[in-house]
Amino acid sequence: MLKIADKTFNSRLFTGTGKFSSSVLMEEALLASGSELVTVALKRVDFKSNDQDDLLTHLKYPHINLLPNTSGVRNAKEAVFAAQLAREALETNWIKLEIHPDPKYLMPDPIETLKATEGLAKMGFIVLPYIHADPVLCKRLEDAGTSAVMPLGSPIGSNKGLKTIDFLEIIISQSNVPVIVDAGIGSPSDAAWAMEIGANAVLVNTAIAVAGNPVQMAKAFKMAVEAGRMAYEAKLALPVMHAVASSPLTSFLDE
Protein backbone atom coordinates (compact mmCIF):
# COMPACT_ATOMS: atom_id res chain seq x y z
CA MET A 1 0.00 0.00 0.00
CA LEU A 2 1.11 3.48 -0.77
CA LYS A 3 1.69 5.72 2.21
CA ILE A 4 2.09 9.48 2.05
CA ALA A 5 2.54 11.26 5.36
CA ASP A 6 -0.04 9.60 7.65
CA LYS A 7 -2.41 8.38 4.94
CA THR A 8 -2.47 5.07 3.12
CA PHE A 9 -3.90 4.58 -0.34
CA ASN A 10 -5.18 1.45 -2.05
CA SER A 11 -5.21 3.21 -5.39
CA ARG A 12 -2.08 4.61 -6.96
CA LEU A 13 -4.06 6.60 -9.50
CA PHE A 14 -4.54 10.21 -8.46
CA THR A 15 -6.90 12.32 -10.53
CA GLY A 16 -7.92 15.89 -11.26
CA THR A 17 -11.26 17.64 -11.62
CA GLY A 18 -10.68 20.08 -14.49
CA LYS A 19 -11.82 20.02 -18.10
CA PHE A 20 -14.82 17.69 -17.66
CA SER A 21 -17.96 18.44 -19.68
CA SER A 22 -20.09 18.26 -16.53
CA SER A 23 -19.71 17.73 -12.81
CA VAL A 24 -21.91 14.65 -13.03
CA LEU A 25 -19.63 13.06 -15.61
CA MET A 26 -16.60 14.01 -13.54
CA GLU A 27 -18.10 12.27 -10.51
CA GLU A 28 -18.82 9.11 -12.50
CA ALA A 29 -15.33 9.04 -13.99
CA LEU A 30 -13.63 9.60 -10.66
CA LEU A 31 -15.66 6.79 -9.10
CA ALA A 32 -14.72 4.50 -11.98
CA SER A 33 -11.05 5.38 -11.55
CA GLY A 34 -11.06 4.17 -7.95
CA SER A 35 -8.96 7.22 -7.14
CA GLU A 36 -8.61 8.13 -3.48
CA LEU A 37 -6.80 11.43 -3.94
CA VAL A 38 -8.42 14.04 -6.14
CA THR A 39 -6.95 17.44 -6.79
CA VAL A 40 -9.18 20.52 -6.95
CA ALA A 41 -8.12 23.96 -8.15
CA LEU A 42 -8.84 26.49 -5.44
CA LYS A 43 -9.79 29.03 -8.09
CA ARG A 44 -12.69 26.83 -9.15
CA VAL A 45 -14.08 26.44 -5.64
CA ASP A 46 -16.86 28.79 -4.68
CA PHE A 47 -16.29 29.21 -0.96
CA LYS A 48 -19.34 31.39 -0.51
CA SER A 49 -21.94 29.28 -2.23
CA ASN A 50 -24.02 26.41 -0.89
CA ASP A 51 -25.19 25.66 -4.40
CA GLN A 52 -26.00 22.00 -5.06
CA ASP A 53 -24.19 22.16 -8.38
CA ASP A 54 -20.90 23.10 -6.80
CA LEU A 55 -17.84 21.07 -7.72
CA LEU A 56 -17.33 19.86 -4.17
CA THR A 57 -20.79 18.35 -3.77
CA HIS A 58 -19.80 15.83 -6.44
CA LEU A 59 -16.72 14.76 -4.50
CA LYS A 60 -18.32 13.85 -1.19
CA TYR A 61 -17.32 10.21 -0.77
CA PRO A 62 -15.61 8.68 2.24
CA HIS A 63 -12.85 7.15 0.07
CA ILE A 64 -12.08 10.40 -1.80
CA ASN A 65 -9.50 12.68 -0.19
CA LEU A 66 -9.35 16.21 -1.54
CA LEU A 67 -6.03 17.65 -2.57
CA PRO A 68 -6.47 21.39 -3.10
CA ASN A 69 -4.02 22.92 -5.56
CA THR A 70 -2.67 26.43 -5.81
CA SER A 71 -2.94 26.78 -9.59
CA GLY A 72 -2.90 30.46 -10.51
CA VAL A 73 -0.39 31.71 -7.95
CA ARG A 74 2.88 33.11 -9.25
CA ASN A 75 5.21 33.01 -6.26
CA ALA A 76 5.85 31.44 -2.85
CA LYS A 77 4.09 34.16 -0.93
CA GLU A 78 0.86 33.76 -2.88
CA ALA A 79 1.15 29.98 -2.63
CA VAL A 80 1.46 30.03 1.16
CA PHE A 81 -1.55 32.31 1.43
CA ALA A 82 -3.57 30.06 -0.90
CA ALA A 83 -2.60 26.99 1.13
CA GLN A 84 -3.82 28.64 4.31
CA LEU A 85 -7.07 29.53 2.61
CA ALA A 86 -7.46 25.94 1.44
CA ARG A 87 -6.77 24.59 4.90
CA GLU A 88 -9.46 26.78 6.36
CA ALA A 89 -12.06 26.25 3.65
CA LEU A 90 -11.56 22.56 2.90
CA GLU A 91 -10.31 21.42 6.30
CA THR A 92 -7.24 19.65 5.02
CA ASN A 93 -3.58 20.37 5.55
CA TRP A 94 -2.71 18.62 2.29
CA ILE A 95 -1.71 20.92 -0.51
CA LYS A 96 -0.63 20.36 -4.08
CA LEU A 97 1.84 23.13 -4.64
CA GLU A 98 1.62 24.51 -8.16
CA ILE A 99 3.59 27.65 -8.79
CA HIS A 100 3.74 28.40 -12.47
CA PRO A 101 4.40 32.04 -13.21
CA ASP A 102 4.33 31.17 -16.90
CA PRO A 103 0.66 30.89 -17.90
CA LYS A 104 1.45 29.67 -21.42
CA TYR A 105 3.27 26.41 -20.76
CA LEU A 106 2.50 26.27 -17.02
CA MET A 107 6.11 25.49 -16.20
CA PRO A 108 6.73 25.19 -12.46
CA ASP A 109 9.09 27.69 -10.83
CA PRO A 110 11.69 25.62 -8.93
CA ILE A 111 12.97 28.48 -6.80
CA GLU A 112 9.60 29.66 -5.53
CA THR A 113 8.43 26.05 -5.11
CA LEU A 114 11.37 25.21 -2.88
CA LYS A 115 10.81 28.35 -0.83
CA ALA A 116 7.10 27.66 -0.41
CA THR A 117 7.68 23.99 0.48
CA GLU A 118 10.06 25.00 3.23
CA GLY A 119 7.57 27.46 4.69
CA LEU A 120 4.53 25.24 4.37
CA ALA A 121 6.24 22.14 5.80
CA LYS A 122 7.21 24.17 8.87
CA MET A 123 3.58 25.23 9.22
CA GLY A 124 2.51 21.58 9.32
CA PHE A 125 1.27 21.19 5.76
CA ILE A 126 1.58 17.95 3.82
CA VAL A 127 3.17 19.37 0.70
CA LEU A 128 3.05 17.70 -2.72
CA PRO A 129 4.91 19.96 -5.12
CA TYR A 130 4.50 19.90 -8.90
CA ILE A 131 7.98 20.28 -10.37
CA HIS A 132 10.21 19.62 -13.30
CA ALA A 133 11.80 16.20 -13.46
CA ASP A 134 14.87 17.62 -11.74
CA PRO A 135 16.65 15.10 -9.50
CA VAL A 136 18.59 17.70 -7.51
CA LEU A 137 15.48 19.75 -6.87
CA CYS A 138 13.80 16.60 -5.56
CA LYS A 139 16.57 16.09 -3.02
CA ARG A 140 16.42 19.73 -1.99
CA LEU A 141 12.65 19.41 -1.53
CA GLU A 142 13.18 16.37 0.67
CA ASP A 143 15.50 18.44 2.85
CA ALA A 144 12.85 21.13 2.96
CA GLY A 145 10.31 18.70 4.36
CA THR A 146 8.22 17.74 1.38
CA SER A 147 5.91 14.74 1.75
CA ALA A 148 6.23 13.61 -1.87
CA VAL A 149 7.51 14.93 -5.18
CA MET A 150 5.46 15.30 -8.35
CA PRO A 151 7.78 15.55 -11.33
CA LEU A 152 6.24 16.08 -14.75
CA GLY A 153 6.35 13.44 -17.47
CA SER A 154 5.96 16.04 -20.22
CA PRO A 155 4.36 19.49 -20.47
CA ILE A 156 1.10 19.61 -18.54
CA GLY A 157 -1.98 18.86 -20.61
CA SER A 158 0.16 17.77 -23.56
CA ASN A 159 -0.67 14.04 -23.43
CA LYS A 160 2.86 13.42 -24.69
CA GLY A 161 3.75 10.71 -22.18
CA LEU A 162 7.06 10.25 -20.38
CA LYS A 163 9.42 12.57 -22.24
CA THR A 164 11.45 12.97 -19.05
CA ILE A 165 11.92 9.23 -18.55
CA ASP A 166 15.71 9.35 -17.93
CA PHE A 167 15.32 11.94 -15.19
CA LEU A 168 12.31 10.22 -13.68
CA GLU A 169 14.37 7.06 -13.32
CA ILE A 170 17.10 8.95 -11.47
CA ILE A 171 14.56 10.62 -9.21
CA ILE A 172 12.88 7.32 -8.39
CA SER A 173 16.18 5.57 -7.73
CA GLN A 174 17.31 8.09 -5.13
CA SER A 175 14.08 9.34 -3.56
CA ASN A 176 13.20 8.92 0.10
CA VAL A 177 9.68 10.25 -0.43
CA PRO A 178 6.97 8.94 -2.76
CA VAL A 179 7.37 9.94 -6.40
CA ILE A 180 4.15 10.77 -8.23
CA VAL A 181 4.45 11.34 -11.95
CA ASP A 182 2.27 14.32 -12.71
CA ALA A 183 1.46 15.98 -16.02
CA GLY A 184 1.72 14.74 -19.56
CA ILE A 185 0.43 11.18 -19.07
CA GLY A 186 -1.69 10.77 -22.17
CA SER A 187 -2.69 7.12 -22.26
CA PRO A 188 -3.02 4.12 -19.95
CA SER A 189 0.19 2.71 -21.45
CA ASP A 190 2.07 5.85 -20.29
CA ALA A 191 0.67 5.35 -16.81
CA ALA A 192 1.63 1.68 -16.82
CA TRP A 193 5.13 2.61 -17.94
CA ALA A 194 5.51 5.11 -15.11
CA MET A 195 4.42 2.45 -12.64
CA GLU A 196 6.76 -0.16 -14.15
CA ILE A 197 9.79 2.07 -13.63
CA GLY A 198 8.84 2.36 -9.97
CA ALA A 199 6.81 5.52 -9.63
CA ASN A 200 4.71 5.33 -6.46
CA ALA A 201 1.67 6.84 -8.15
CA VAL A 202 0.57 8.87 -11.16
CA LEU A 203 -1.75 11.85 -11.47
CA VAL A 204 -3.99 11.95 -14.54
CA ASN A 205 -6.52 14.59 -15.50
CA THR A 206 -6.69 15.74 -19.14
CA ALA A 207 -6.40 12.24 -20.62
CA ILE A 208 -9.50 11.15 -18.71
CA ALA A 209 -11.54 14.37 -18.83
CA VAL A 210 -11.14 14.96 -22.55
CA ALA A 211 -11.48 11.31 -23.65
CA GLY A 212 -14.39 10.30 -25.85
CA ASN A 213 -15.75 8.27 -22.95
CA PRO A 214 -14.22 9.58 -19.72
CA VAL A 215 -15.77 6.87 -17.51
CA GLN A 216 -14.40 4.05 -19.61
CA MET A 217 -11.03 5.79 -19.88
CA ALA A 218 -10.91 6.18 -16.09
CA LYS A 219 -11.39 2.42 -15.76
CA ALA A 220 -8.66 1.80 -18.32
CA PHE A 221 -6.26 3.97 -16.33
CA LYS A 222 -7.20 2.18 -13.12
CA MET A 223 -6.32 -1.17 -14.68
CA ALA A 224 -3.13 0.14 -16.30
CA VAL A 225 -1.86 1.57 -13.04
CA GLU A 226 -2.59 -1.70 -11.24
CA ALA A 227 -0.89 -3.71 -14.00
CA GLY A 228 2.14 -1.43 -14.04
CA ARG A 229 2.54 -1.63 -10.30
CA MET A 230 2.15 -5.40 -10.34
CA ALA A 231 4.81 -5.64 -13.04
CA TYR A 232 7.15 -3.48 -10.99
CA GLU A 233 6.64 -5.66 -7.92
CA ALA A 234 7.06 -8.85 -9.96
CA LYS A 235 10.40 -7.50 -11.18
CA LEU A 236 10.59 -7.09 -14.90
CA ALA A 237 12.97 -9.27 -16.85
CA LEU A 238 15.54 -6.96 -18.34
CA PRO A 239 15.34 -6.73 -22.10
CA VAL A 240 18.37 -8.20 -23.84
CA MET A 241 19.55 -5.54 -26.21
CA HIS A 242 22.25 -7.53 -28.03
CA ALA A 243 22.48 -10.83 -29.85
CA VAL A 244 24.93 -13.45 -28.59
CA ALA A 245 27.96 -13.30 -30.88
CA SER A 246 28.75 -16.51 -32.77
CA SER A 247 32.45 -16.01 -32.06
CA PRO A 248 32.43 -14.77 -28.48
CA LEU A 249 34.92 -12.05 -27.67
CA THR A 250 36.26 -14.04 -24.75
CA SER A 251 36.47 -17.44 -26.44
CA PHE A 252 40.24 -17.13 -26.72
CA LEU A 253 40.45 -17.71 -22.98
CA ASP A 254 39.26 -21.26 -23.46
CA GLU A 255 41.77 -22.08 -26.17
Binding site: K43, D46, F47, G157, A209, V210
Partner: protein, 371 residues
Protein backbone atom coordinates in the same frame (compact mmCIF):
# COMPACT_ATOMS: atom_id res chain seq x y z
CA UNK B 1 13.77 46.87 -28.30
CA UNK B 2 11.69 49.01 -25.98
CA UNK B 3 8.16 48.40 -27.05
CA UNK B 4 5.93 47.15 -29.81
CA UNK B 5 6.07 50.37 -31.84
CA UNK B 6 9.61 49.54 -32.93
CA UNK B 7 8.52 46.21 -34.35
CA UNK B 8 5.31 47.60 -35.77
CA UNK B 9 7.22 50.25 -37.72
CA UNK B 10 9.23 47.61 -39.54
CA UNK B 11 6.04 46.40 -41.24
CA UNK B 12 4.26 48.04 -44.12
CA UNK B 13 0.47 47.64 -44.23
CA UNK B 14 0.16 47.24 -48.00
CA UNK B 15 3.05 44.82 -48.32
CA UNK B 16 1.69 42.75 -45.46
CA UNK B 17 -1.75 42.72 -47.01
CA UNK B 18 -0.36 41.68 -50.39
CA UNK B 19 1.64 38.87 -48.80
CA UNK B 20 -1.49 37.48 -47.12
CA UNK B 21 -3.48 37.54 -50.35
CA UNK B 22 -0.59 35.87 -52.19
CA UNK B 23 -0.72 32.75 -50.00
CA UNK B 24 -1.51 29.56 -51.91
CA UNK B 25 -3.21 26.29 -51.05
CA UNK B 26 0.26 24.80 -50.70
CA UNK B 27 1.09 27.36 -48.00
CA UNK B 28 -2.15 26.47 -46.23
CA UNK B 29 -1.37 22.76 -46.33
CA UNK B 30 2.12 23.41 -44.97
CA UNK B 31 0.64 25.49 -42.16
CA UNK B 32 -1.90 22.82 -41.29
CA UNK B 33 0.69 20.08 -41.12
CA UNK B 34 3.33 22.11 -39.24
CA UNK B 35 4.13 21.15 -35.66
CA UNK B 36 4.40 24.76 -34.52
CA UNK B 37 2.86 27.51 -36.63
CA UNK B 38 4.80 30.66 -37.50
CA UNK B 39 3.41 34.08 -38.34
CA UNK B 40 3.77 33.17 -42.01
CA UNK B 41 1.67 30.07 -41.36
CA UNK B 42 -0.91 32.29 -39.67
CA UNK B 43 -1.04 34.46 -42.77
CA UNK B 44 -1.80 31.39 -44.85
CA UNK B 45 -4.54 30.31 -42.43
CA UNK B 46 -6.35 33.66 -42.63
CA UNK B 47 -5.84 34.03 -46.40
CA UNK B 48 -8.55 33.47 -49.00
CA UNK B 49 -6.57 30.37 -50.02
CA UNK B 50 -7.54 28.69 -46.73
CA UNK B 51 -11.29 28.97 -47.35
CA UNK B 52 -11.62 25.45 -48.84
CA UNK B 53 -9.85 24.02 -45.76
CA UNK B 54 -12.35 25.37 -43.25
CA UNK B 55 -13.69 22.01 -42.07
CA UNK B 56 -10.17 20.70 -41.50
CA UNK B 57 -9.22 23.88 -39.65
CA UNK B 58 -12.30 23.58 -37.45
CA UNK B 59 -11.38 20.02 -36.55
CA UNK B 60 -7.82 20.92 -35.59
CA UNK B 61 -9.01 23.96 -33.68
CA UNK B 62 -11.51 21.87 -31.75
CA UNK B 63 -8.90 19.24 -30.83
CA UNK B 64 -6.31 21.79 -29.71
CA UNK B 65 -8.87 23.63 -27.61
CA UNK B 66 -10.07 20.44 -25.95
CA UNK B 67 -6.53 19.44 -25.07
CA UNK B 68 -5.71 22.76 -23.47
CA UNK B 69 -8.99 23.96 -22.02
CA UNK B 70 -11.16 20.83 -21.85
CA UNK B 71 -14.90 20.82 -22.27
CA UNK B 72 -15.54 24.04 -20.41
CA UNK B 73 -16.58 27.58 -21.36
CA UNK B 74 -16.05 30.52 -19.02
CA UNK B 75 -18.98 32.83 -18.40
CA UNK B 76 -18.53 36.60 -18.03
CA UNK B 77 -20.64 39.70 -18.27
CA UNK B 78 -19.90 43.38 -18.91
CA UNK B 79 -20.87 46.11 -16.46
CA UNK B 80 -20.99 49.47 -18.21
CA UNK B 81 -20.11 52.12 -15.65
CA UNK B 82 -20.26 55.17 -17.87
CA UNK B 83 -21.07 56.31 -21.39
CA UNK B 84 -19.43 59.69 -21.01
CA UNK B 85 -16.74 60.10 -23.63
CA UNK B 86 -14.52 62.86 -24.96
CA UNK B 87 -13.44 60.90 -28.00
CA UNK B 88 -14.97 61.00 -31.42
CA UNK B 89 -15.02 57.48 -32.81
CA UNK B 90 -16.92 57.06 -36.05
CA UNK B 91 -18.19 53.59 -35.15
CA UNK B 92 -19.18 53.94 -31.50
CA UNK B 93 -22.47 54.86 -29.83
CA UNK B 94 -20.60 56.69 -27.07
CA UNK B 95 -18.86 59.03 -29.53
CA UNK B 96 -18.61 62.61 -28.21
CA UNK B 97 -20.53 64.01 -31.19
CA UNK B 98 -23.48 61.68 -30.55
CA UNK B 99 -25.66 64.21 -28.76
CA UNK B 100 -27.47 62.09 -26.21
CA UNK B 101 -27.76 62.25 -22.44
CA UNK B 102 -24.72 60.77 -20.67
CA UNK B 103 -24.51 58.83 -17.48
CA UNK B 104 -21.86 57.66 -15.03
CA UNK B 105 -23.01 55.30 -12.31
CA UNK B 106 -22.80 56.43 -8.69
CA UNK B 107 -21.72 54.02 -5.94
CA UNK B 108 -25.33 53.29 -5.00
CA UNK B 109 -26.25 52.64 -8.62
CA UNK B 110 -23.23 50.38 -9.06
CA UNK B 111 -24.39 48.26 -6.15
CA UNK B 112 -27.87 47.97 -7.67
CA UNK B 113 -26.31 46.79 -10.91
CA UNK B 114 -24.04 44.39 -9.01
CA UNK B 115 -27.06 42.87 -7.26
CA UNK B 116 -28.78 42.30 -10.61
CA UNK B 117 -25.64 40.76 -12.10
CA UNK B 118 -25.10 38.50 -9.08
CA UNK B 119 -28.70 37.30 -9.46
CA UNK B 120 -27.75 36.05 -12.92
CA UNK B 121 -25.03 33.90 -11.30
CA UNK B 122 -21.91 35.74 -12.48
CA UNK B 123 -18.54 35.66 -10.73
CA UNK B 124 -16.46 37.11 -13.60
CA UNK B 125 -17.16 40.73 -14.48
CA UNK B 126 -15.86 43.12 -17.13
CA UNK B 127 -16.02 46.83 -16.28
CA UNK B 128 -16.53 49.08 -19.30
CA UNK B 129 -16.44 52.86 -19.73
CA UNK B 130 -15.86 55.47 -22.39
CA UNK B 131 -13.01 57.92 -21.96
CA UNK B 132 -13.92 60.87 -19.77
CA UNK B 133 -10.92 61.64 -17.64
CA UNK B 134 -12.66 64.44 -15.72
CA UNK B 135 -15.13 62.00 -14.10
CA UNK B 136 -13.97 58.49 -14.90
CA UNK B 137 -10.39 58.47 -13.69
CA UNK B 138 -8.07 56.31 -11.62
CA UNK B 139 -9.62 57.42 -8.33
CA UNK B 140 -13.06 56.55 -9.66
CA UNK B 141 -11.77 53.11 -10.69
CA UNK B 142 -10.27 52.56 -7.25
CA UNK B 143 -13.60 53.34 -5.63
CA UNK B 144 -15.42 51.03 -8.01
CA UNK B 145 -12.95 48.19 -7.48
CA UNK B 146 -13.24 48.60 -3.72
CA UNK B 147 -17.00 48.38 -4.01
CA UNK B 148 -17.26 45.35 -6.25
CA UNK B 149 -14.25 43.29 -5.22
CA UNK B 150 -16.05 41.45 -2.41
CA UNK B 151 -18.73 40.35 -4.88
CA UNK B 152 -16.73 38.91 -7.78
CA UNK B 153 -14.02 36.30 -8.15
CA UNK B 154 -12.49 37.87 -11.26
CA UNK B 155 -12.46 41.50 -12.39
CA UNK B 156 -11.56 42.72 -15.88
CA UNK B 157 -11.55 46.23 -17.23
CA UNK B 158 -12.10 47.69 -20.69
CA UNK B 159 -11.59 51.41 -20.23
CA UNK B 160 -9.35 54.12 -21.68
CA UNK B 161 -5.63 53.28 -21.88
CA UNK B 162 -3.86 54.38 -18.72
CA UNK B 163 -0.30 55.17 -17.70
CA UNK B 164 1.97 52.52 -16.24
CA UNK B 165 1.67 54.05 -12.75
CA UNK B 166 -2.11 53.90 -12.97
CA UNK B 167 -2.09 50.20 -13.73
CA UNK B 168 0.38 49.63 -10.91
CA UNK B 169 -1.98 51.44 -8.57
CA UNK B 170 -5.05 49.49 -9.68
CA UNK B 171 -3.74 45.92 -9.47
CA UNK B 172 -3.69 45.87 -5.65
CA UNK B 173 -7.41 46.72 -5.80
CA UNK B 174 -8.14 43.37 -7.41
CA UNK B 175 -7.82 44.31 -11.07
CA UNK B 176 -6.82 41.07 -12.81
CA UNK B 177 -7.36 41.63 -16.52
CA UNK B 178 -7.31 44.59 -18.88
CA UNK B 179 -8.71 44.55 -22.40
CA UNK B 180 -7.45 47.13 -24.83
CA UNK B 181 -8.38 46.81 -28.47
CA UNK B 182 -6.32 48.62 -31.04
CA UNK B 183 -9.48 48.93 -33.22
CA UNK B 184 -7.26 48.96 -36.33
CA UNK B 185 -3.53 48.70 -36.94
CA UNK B 186 -3.96 50.79 -40.12
CA UNK B 187 -2.36 53.95 -38.81
CA UNK B 188 -3.78 56.40 -41.34
CA UNK B 189 -7.29 55.00 -41.11
CA UNK B 190 -7.03 54.94 -37.34
CA UNK B 191 -6.69 58.73 -37.47
CA UNK B 192 -9.79 58.98 -39.66
CA UNK B 193 -11.84 56.91 -37.24
CA UNK B 194 -10.54 58.74 -34.18
CA UNK B 195 -10.32 62.38 -35.24
CA UNK B 196 -10.68 63.92 -31.77
CA UNK B 197 -9.86 63.11 -28.17
CA UNK B 198 -7.04 61.33 -26.40
CA UNK B 199 -7.82 58.18 -28.36
CA UNK B 200 -6.56 59.81 -31.55
CA UNK B 201 -3.04 59.09 -30.29
CA UNK B 202 -2.36 55.80 -32.15
CA UNK B 203 0.98 55.07 -30.55
CA UNK B 204 -0.15 55.63 -26.97
CA UNK B 205 -2.82 53.00 -27.56
CA UNK B 206 -0.44 50.70 -29.40
CA UNK B 207 1.96 50.72 -26.45
CA UNK B 208 -0.72 50.09 -23.82
CA UNK B 209 -0.15 46.32 -23.70
CA UNK B 210 3.53 47.04 -23.05
CA UNK B 211 2.57 49.17 -20.07
CA UNK B 212 0.24 46.41 -18.87
CA UNK B 213 3.04 43.87 -19.15
CA UNK B 214 5.38 46.15 -17.23
CA UNK B 215 2.74 46.56 -14.54
CA UNK B 216 2.59 42.74 -14.19
CA UNK B 217 -1.09 42.47 -15.04
CA UNK B 218 -2.33 38.87 -14.91
CA UNK B 219 -4.13 38.87 -18.23
CA UNK B 220 -4.56 41.22 -21.15
CA UNK B 221 -6.94 41.12 -24.06
CA UNK B 222 -6.19 42.23 -27.60
CA UNK B 223 -8.25 42.62 -30.72
CA UNK B 224 -9.39 44.85 -33.54
CA UNK B 225 -12.83 46.08 -34.49
CA UNK B 226 -13.65 44.04 -37.55
CA UNK B 227 -15.19 46.12 -40.29
CA UNK B 228 -12.95 49.17 -40.10
CA UNK B 229 -10.22 47.85 -42.37
CA UNK B 230 -9.15 44.65 -44.14
CA UNK B 231 -9.73 42.10 -41.36
CA UNK B 232 -7.01 39.73 -42.53
CA UNK B 233 -4.29 42.35 -42.33
CA UNK B 234 -5.59 43.69 -39.01
CA UNK B 235 -5.69 40.14 -37.61
CA UNK B 236 -2.13 39.52 -38.73
CA UNK B 237 -1.00 42.56 -36.75
CA UNK B 238 -2.98 41.31 -33.76
CA UNK B 239 -1.11 37.99 -33.99
CA UNK B 240 2.19 39.83 -34.37
CA UNK B 241 1.38 41.87 -31.29
CA UNK B 242 0.42 38.75 -29.34
CA UNK B 243 3.62 36.98 -30.35
CA UNK B 244 5.74 39.89 -29.23
CA UNK B 245 3.93 40.29 -25.92
CA UNK B 246 3.99 36.58 -25.03
CA UNK B 247 7.74 36.45 -25.38
CA UNK B 248 8.40 39.67 -23.53
CA UNK B 249 5.77 39.56 -20.77
CA UNK B 250 5.83 35.82 -20.24
CA UNK B 251 4.10 35.99 -16.89
CA UNK B 252 0.89 37.41 -18.36
CA UNK B 253 -1.98 35.50 -19.92
CA UNK B 254 -3.57 36.64 -23.15
CA UNK B 255 -7.01 36.63 -24.66
CA UNK B 256 -8.30 37.67 -28.06
CA UNK B 257 -11.66 39.01 -29.19
CA UNK B 258 -12.97 39.53 -32.69
CA UNK B 259 -15.83 42.01 -32.44
CA UNK B 260 -17.63 42.71 -35.68
CA UNK B 261 -18.94 46.23 -36.09
CA UNK B 262 -22.55 46.40 -34.90
CA UNK B 263 -25.11 49.05 -35.70
CA UNK B 264 -25.91 51.84 -33.22
CA UNK B 265 -27.94 55.03 -33.45
CA UNK B 266 -26.38 57.22 -36.15
CA UNK B 267 -23.38 54.97 -36.70
CA UNK B 268 -21.01 53.92 -39.42
CA UNK B 269 -21.65 51.09 -41.84
CA UNK B 270 -18.78 48.60 -41.96
CA UNK B 271 -16.25 49.45 -44.66
CA UNK B 272 -15.30 45.82 -44.95
CA UNK B 273 -17.84 43.06 -44.38
CA UNK B 274 -16.81 39.82 -42.77
CA UNK B 275 -19.23 36.93 -43.16
CA UNK B 276 -19.80 34.11 -40.68
CA UNK B 277 -17.65 31.70 -42.63
CA UNK B 278 -14.74 34.12 -42.47
CA UNK B 279 -15.19 34.70 -38.76
CA UNK B 280 -15.03 30.95 -38.17
CA UNK B 281 -11.88 30.87 -40.30
CA UNK B 282 -10.32 33.60 -38.18
CA UNK B 283 -11.22 31.96 -34.86
CA UNK B 284 -9.81 28.61 -35.99
CA UNK B 285 -6.70 30.29 -37.41
CA UNK B 286 -6.00 32.01 -34.08
CA UNK B 287 -6.37 28.71 -32.24
CA UNK B 288 -4.20 26.73 -34.64
CA UNK B 289 -1.58 29.48 -34.46
CA UNK B 290 -1.65 29.73 -30.66
CA UNK B 291 -2.86 26.80 -28.55
CA UNK B 292 -2.85 28.66 -25.26
CA UNK B 293 -4.55 31.98 -26.01
CA UNK B 294 -8.07 32.47 -24.67
CA UNK B 295 -10.69 33.30 -27.29
CA UNK B 296 -13.79 35.17 -26.28
CA UNK B 297 -17.13 35.74 -27.99
CA UNK B 298 -19.67 38.41 -27.06
CA UNK B 299 -23.36 39.03 -27.60
CA UNK B 300 -22.51 40.95 -30.77
CA UNK B 301 -22.95 37.62 -32.55
CA UNK B 302 -26.23 35.90 -33.39
CA UNK B 303 -27.70 33.01 -31.37
CA UNK B 304 -27.14 30.55 -34.19
CA UNK B 305 -23.52 31.56 -34.63
CA UNK B 306 -22.84 31.45 -30.90
CA UNK B 307 -24.45 28.02 -30.52
CA UNK B 308 -22.21 26.58 -33.18
CA UNK B 309 -18.98 28.30 -32.26
CA UNK B 310 -18.91 26.81 -28.73
CA UNK B 311 -17.16 23.68 -29.98
CA UNK B 312 -14.79 25.31 -32.46
CA UNK B 313 -12.18 26.99 -30.31
CA UNK B 314 -13.58 29.71 -28.11
CA UNK B 315 -13.07 29.59 -24.35
CA UNK B 316 -15.21 32.40 -22.94
CA UNK B 317 -18.67 33.78 -23.63
CA UNK B 318 -20.80 36.62 -22.32
CA UNK B 319 -24.57 36.42 -22.01
CA UNK B 320 -27.45 38.59 -20.93
CA UNK B 321 -25.24 41.61 -21.58
CA UNK B 322 -26.37 45.23 -21.43
CA UNK B 323 -24.13 47.75 -23.16
CA UNK B 324 -25.46 50.82 -21.39
CA UNK B 325 -24.71 52.14 -17.89
CA UNK B 326 -27.56 51.16 -15.62
CA UNK B 327 -28.79 48.62 -18.14
CA UNK B 328 -29.36 45.80 -15.65
CA UNK B 329 -31.38 47.65 -13.04
CA UNK B 330 -30.90 51.39 -12.69
CA UNK B 331 -31.77 52.89 -16.06
CA UNK B 332 -32.47 50.25 -18.71
CA UNK B 333 -33.12 52.89 -21.38
CA UNK B 334 -29.83 54.84 -21.22
CA UNK B 335 -27.56 55.20 -24.27
CA UNK B 336 -26.08 51.86 -25.30
CA UNK B 337 -22.74 51.33 -27.04
CA UNK B 338 -24.10 48.92 -29.63
CA UNK B 339 -27.11 46.67 -30.16
CA UNK B 340 -26.57 43.12 -29.03
CA UNK B 341 -27.64 40.22 -31.28
CA UNK B 342 -28.21 37.49 -28.74
CA UNK B 343 -30.85 38.40 -26.17
CA UNK B 344 -30.87 35.04 -24.38
CA UNK B 345 -30.43 34.97 -20.62
CA UNK B 346 -27.26 33.60 -19.00
CA UNK B 347 -29.24 30.56 -17.85
CA UNK B 348 -30.42 29.88 -21.39
CA UNK B 349 -26.85 30.16 -22.65
CA UNK B 350 -25.64 27.87 -19.87
CA UNK B 351 -28.21 25.27 -20.89
CA UNK B 352 -27.16 25.63 -24.51
CA UNK B 353 -23.51 25.06 -23.52
CA UNK B 354 -24.52 21.95 -21.54
CA UNK B 355 -26.45 20.68 -24.53
CA UNK B 356 -23.27 20.96 -26.62
CA UNK B 357 -21.49 18.66 -24.16
CA UNK B 358 -19.60 21.44 -22.42
CA UNK B 359 -19.75 22.82 -18.90
CA UNK B 360 -20.30 26.53 -18.28
CA UNK B 361 -17.79 27.68 -15.67
CA UNK B 362 -18.85 30.65 -13.57
CA UNK B 363 -15.82 30.80 -11.32
CA UNK B 364 -12.28 30.16 -12.50
CA UNK B 365 -10.29 32.55 -10.38
CA UNK B 366 -10.13 33.67 -6.79
CA UNK B 367 -9.16 37.14 -5.70
CA UNK B 368 -7.20 35.68 -2.83
CA UNK B 369 -4.75 34.00 -5.23
CA UNK B 370 -3.03 37.29 -6.08
CA UNK B 371 -1.42 39.25 -3.27
Amino acid sequence: MNNFTDIFKSFDWNETKASIYAKTSQDVEMALSAKKRSLEDFKALISPAAAPYLEQMALISQQLTLKRFGKVIQMYVPLYLSNECNNICTYCGFSFDNKVKRKTLSPIEIMQEVAAIKDMGYEHILLVTGEANQTVHVDYFKKVLDLIRPHFAHISMEVQPLDLEDYQQLTPYGLNTVLVYQETYHQEDYKKHHPKGKKSNFEYRLETPDRLGQAGIHKMGLGVLIGLEDWRTDSFFTALHLNYLEKKYWQSKYSLSFPRLRPFSGGLEPKVEMNDRELVQLICAYRIFNEEVELSISTRESPNFRNNIIRLGITAISAGSKTNPGGYAVEPESLEQFEISDERSPQQIARMINAQGYEPVWKDWDNSLAL
